[in-house]
């Protein structure tokens, strides 16, 4: 599903040039659950942003579902993103002015789903995430665990092929963290490919494969199953 070859990303300021990704090469197969680990500044998040088409690389190749996407323009990237990729962030990133229902509904609005279908789809997902009873609440009225479940619901509502999770349990206690990891595992078992950046060895053990990075490139790969 994902084939990255010699990927490069360099951040430049007036005085400093920082190599975030250094000829990185990674493959992720469809249905895989991959955890990416490494110390802060090793390029994990940069990789995730490029995988999510939120950022573009400075060199190398990125083939997604058989299509070279490394140099897609803003419009094509947004189009590819909204149909294929879901995101889960450490800090949940829900819109405070929208209710749980409306937050989850948002991706469907941008993909042009009709209101009646949207309602049905959002309710199904909220039900699945066991957060239906909170559908009319605002994010600030929910616990951290509940907010992250809403974020996962929003990530999966469009049935994406790929979910990118950036330290999804980073702001949660262990109990809520486990619940979120189990949700991701369930989604993976249903066929969704997951790439997760984490600092937590515990969370990484939920994945099939752990890629460890240092200085913008992979240093080891551990296959867990």
């Amino acid at each position: 599903m994902i084939k990255i070859t010699n990927l490069e990303k360099i951040y430049r300021t007036e005085e400093v040039e920082t190599i975030a990704l250094n000829k990185l090469t990674i493959d992720v197969k469809e249905g895989e659950f991959v955890a990416i680990m490494g110390p802060s500044g090793c390029g994990k998040s940069t990789l995730l942003n490029i995988l999510g088409l939120l950022d573009d690389p400075d060199g190398g190749s990125f083939i997604f579902n058989g299509v070279e996407v490394a140099h897609f323009n803003e419009r094509k990237r947004a189009d590819m993103r909204k149909h294929n990729i879901g995101f889960v962030f450490q800090s949940f990133n829900l819109i405070d002015e929208l209710t749980v229902f409306e937050n989850v509904e948002l991706p469907l609005i941008y993909t042009g789903v009709k209101p009646a279908d949207r309602k049905k789809r959002v309710e199904e997902v909220l039900d699945k995430m066991q957060i239906m009873h909170r559908r009319n609440h605002y994010p600030q009225q929910l616990s951290g665990g509940q907010q992250q479940r809403v974020a996962v619901a929003r990530a999966v509502v469009n049935n994406p092929k790929l979910i990118l999770a950036d330290e999804p349990t980073g702001n949660l206690d262990s109990s809520n963290g486990n619940e979120v990891m189990e949700l991701l595992t369930d989604l993976n078992e249903q066929g969704t490919t997951i790439v997760m950046v984490t600092h937590s060895e515990h969370d990484a053990r939920f994945s099939h494969r752990i890629i460890r990075m240092l200085d913008g490139t992979t240093v080891t790969e551990n296959i867990l199953i």
Binding site: L54, A78, F89, N93, I95, E97, E105, L106, I109, Y110
Partner: protein, 786 residues
């Protein structure tokens, strides 16, 4: 999608009430100000542009050289109109419109002094001033027929049908109502409540065939497809030819639709006029609206950090930049819509006072579909202007930066927000400077020596038996101690009704075409008005029987005639031989902004329309008026006693400038208020954003004064930059404006200092509230907030 946008927009508005109030109220006040100005502008530009056949109607003007300049004027000989009608086949209709006059209407016990005029029957076919009753072809065919407006019909006949009713006019002639005209709209130059046929001018012997006497207005309507250029070429020598070449006067037709807006001529060519004022006020309206929009832009972008996360999330879940731009523009249009509703309420509340100020009857035309269309356009325009910068600014955020928290606001030396604040204050300061200078100019002219004493001086228009009984009236007023002096004159002392370049005196250069004001007095004018005699004496028929042809000159006239010893000089005018008996100091007759012009005061053989009364100041004015009314009623019982105080009439000369000054004051105050609203909002955000810095500084020992100064400094810098930019702009604008006045105030550098200090004080007062609030807050609390 739009539902989602509006949901977020509404919730954002409700969530941040303070900023919503600042944003919407600023925009509403800006819009209300712009609407008020644009209502006035719309009324001005529509003046006499609503006549269906307006594109074919022209007013006759004359062009000739006098006072060494090629000058244009619009009073024409009475004979011009019938001559045009007779001799020029391309003319469809022609009408004369005489100057409006107040005539007494008597009906039973009713006595009304009503303003009206005399016209040719072509008037009714040319102008779109419709009759609600009567036939326009016949309404003015009889000498004693009259057309009344609906308003006058109501006053005279209440609810009865006015048609064929008879009313007595000027206490002598009976007129039959042949038509009722719809009341005049407020955007026409015409001002009458009745129309009499021109044939009545003949019946009263007021008409003449004199090509020398420019004394009425002439309007011409050409036939369809007739060429105005060709017609102007044909007609230009009409007066010259009829005068057999005695005077080189050229006649030309000027479009009716231009004669209000482009009423100034320089060297015989149109050179703007009213349109300049209209353009200035339209610019002010646009700038006020822009200032309100700038507030919106500044506050929206200042709040960008609060909206950044939303932008990031929307982009992550698939929003394009274009859909975000649509969303933010939609939000600003929504806010503009809410502001517009409030603005309309404000305008409705302000209109009665505003109408008094601008002396118009402006109103919002709710029943007119164009009003709603224009309103919608106005809202869209405001919303799109206000929302444009924030929309592009917010939608350009990179999701990676905002969602990872690496997004930071820009703090460059020059940011768009700073530029906008400077632009706002530049305009506000320029308006303050202009307001001060306009007021200085008015004060300067008001304090100018008039040349006579206006206190306790009133005048009454001669009517009925007044002239016949003048000596009796005079005797009663003086013997009862009500008045100290009385003089009959040709016109009020505040107006020039007559002028001429036809005076002849010994040694006059035959090519000299100096124009002199012509004024008449039956004597004692110096005593009555308090003018100062410089040489000789006043006209005094009682002690000098030959004074019926006596004449007094002013200083400027003596200079213009180049007379070494003016007393006794014979002067010829209108076939009468006058002789100079005195010279008075120059006094302001017409325009207090113009230099003194030469003037001739002719003696009792002249013509009289007015009586001036100098009241005895020992009595109260109320008593003087009451007693005078009794005396006038005794000797002129048919007419109501109506008088005017010279002081009040003189003050009217400043009315236009006073209105301009009041509007400038009003709109500069509003501009400053709107700018300060924005500044207050920005200061609030600044205080919020720098809360941690303030806490740390306080912990390290900074005083409240240090912190307040720190937070105010940035804004102060912007205001100082605005002062530097506004100063030359305002100087240039006012320098140009003052060129319209010959008698003008010099622009003082002190004005700029006052305006600058005022702006700084206002800006500091606005910002310091938030600065002090932030500075006195407990640092522990502010550090915990972070």
């Amino acid at each position: 999608m739009f539902k989602n946008f509006f949901k977020v927009a509404f919730r954002n508005l409700l969530k941040r009430k303070g900023f919503t109030i600042i944003n919407i109220s600023g925009l509403a006040i800006g819009m209300a100000s712009a609407i008020l100005i644009l209502l006035w502008v719309q009324n001005e530009v529509s003046r006499d542009r609503f006549h269906e056949k307006g594109d074919r109607i022209y007013r006759a003007y004359n062009k000739s050289i006098f006072d060494n300049k090629l000058q244009c004027w619009s009073t024409t000989p009475k004979i011009l109109a019938p001559t045009i009608q007779k001799d020029y086949p391309e003319v469809e209709e022609v009408t004369r419109v005489h100057w409006g006059a107040n005539l007494l209407f008597s009906l039973g016990d009713k006595r009304l002094n009503v303003r009206g005029t005399m016209v040719d029957s072509g008037f009714l076919h040319m102008f779109s001033l419709p009759l609600v009753k009567g036939n326009p072809d016949k309404a003015l065919s009889n000498t004693y027929s009259i057309i009344v407006t609906e308003k006058l019909a109501k006053k005279l006949f209440s609810d009865e049908d006015p048609m064929n009713k008879v009313v007595k006019i000027d206490n002598r002639d009976n007129f039959t109502v042949t038509a009722v005209m719809k009341d005049l709209p407020n955007n026409t130059m015409f001002d009458f409540e009745y129309l009499l046929p021109w044939s009545y001018m003949k019946a009263r012997d007021w008409d003449d065939d004199n090509w020398d006497n420019n004394s009425t207005m002439t309007f011409v309507m050409l036939k369809q497809n007739a060429s105005i250029t060709a017609f102007n070429n044909k007609i230009k020598n009409i007066t010259y030819d009829h005068l057999k070449g005695r005077e080189k006067i050229e006649v030309f037709m000027y479009p009716l639709e231009d004669q209000y807006l482009y009423n100034r001529f320089e060297n015989g060519k149109p050179a703007g006029g009213r349109i300049t004022t209209i353009r200035v006020f339209t610019t002010i309206a646009m700038l006020i609206l822009l200032i309100a929009c700038i507030n919106f832009m500044n506050l929206s972008t200042a709040r960008s950090e609060k909206r950044a996360k939303e932008v990031g999330i929307r982009k992550v879940v698939g929003a394009m930049k274009s859909s975000l731009i649509t969303q933010f523009l939609g939000e600003s249009v929504l806010i503009a819509l809410i502001a517009a509703v409030i603005a309309i309420v404000l305008v409705q509340l302000a209109l009665p006072s505003y109408n008094l100020l601008v002396k118009k009857n402006l109103r919002l035309e709710f029943g007119n579909p164009y009003f709603w269309l224009a309103g919608l356009g106005f809202v869209l325009f405001t919303g799109l202007i206000a929302g444009s910068y924030p929309a592009f600014f917010l939608s350009s955020f990179r999701p990676v930066a905002v969602l990872k928290g690496t997004f930071r606001k820009v703090s460059a030396l020059i940011t768009p927000r700073k530029v906008l604040v400077v632009a706002q204050f530049t305009f506000a300061i320029a308006l303050i400077i202009c307001t001060i200078i306009i007021q200085h100019q008015i004060n300067y002219a008001q304090q100018r020596e008039t040349g006579y004493d206006r206190t306790n001086l009133a005048y009454v228009f001669l009517c009925g038996d007044m002239e016949k009984n003048m000596q009796l009236i005079k005797n009663d007023l003086i013997s009862q101690g009500i008045a100290t002096n009385i003089s009959k004159t040709s016109a009020p002392i505040t107006e020039s009704w007559s002028d001429s370049w036809g005076f002849e005196w010994p040694g006059k250069d035959p090519n000299d075409k100096t124009d002199f004001y012509r004024f008449c007095s039956d004597g004692n004018l110096v005593k009555t008005t308090g003018m100062k005699i410089i040489q000789g004496r006043d006209i005094d028929l009682i002690n000098y029987p030959t004074d019926s042809t006596a004449l007094v000159l002013n200083e400027s006239a003596v200079k213009a005639m180049n007379l070494k010893n003016p007393i006794g000089t014979p002067i010829k005018d209108n076939g009468i031989d006058w002789h100079v008996v005195g010279v008075v100091q120059d006094f302001i007759l017409q325009n207090p902004y113009e230099p003194m012009r030469p003037m001739v005061v002719e003696g009792p053989k002249g013509w009289f329309n007015v009586v001036h009364i100098k009241f005895n100041e020992a009595n109260g004015m109320q008593k003087n008026i009451a007693e005078t009314e009794k005396i006038f009623k005794r000797y002129n019982p048919e007419y109501p006693f109506e008088y005017k105080f010279v002081n009040e009439e003189y003050a009217q000369k400043f009315a236009d400038e006073e209105t301009t000054a009041t509007l400038a004051r009003l709109f500069s105050a509003l501009t400053i208020f709107i700018s300060c609203l924005g500044l207050f909002g920005l200061a609030t955000y600044m205080a919020e954003n720098r809360i941690k810095e303030i806490g740390v500084r306080k912990v390290l020992g900074a005083s409240v004064a240090n912190i307040t100064a720190l937070l105010s400094r940035d804004f102060l810098r912007l205001v100082i930059v605005a002062i530097v930019i506004a100063t030359p702009i305002a100087w240039w604008a006012m320098h140009n404006w003052l060129q319209h006045y010959t008698y003008r105030v010099p622009i003082s550098w002190f004005t700029f200092i006052v305006a600058g200090v005022l702006a700084i004080v206002i800006a500091l007062a606005t910002v310091s509230y938030q600065a002090i609030k932030a500075a006195v807050a407990n640092p522990v609390k502010s550090l915990r907030t972070e």
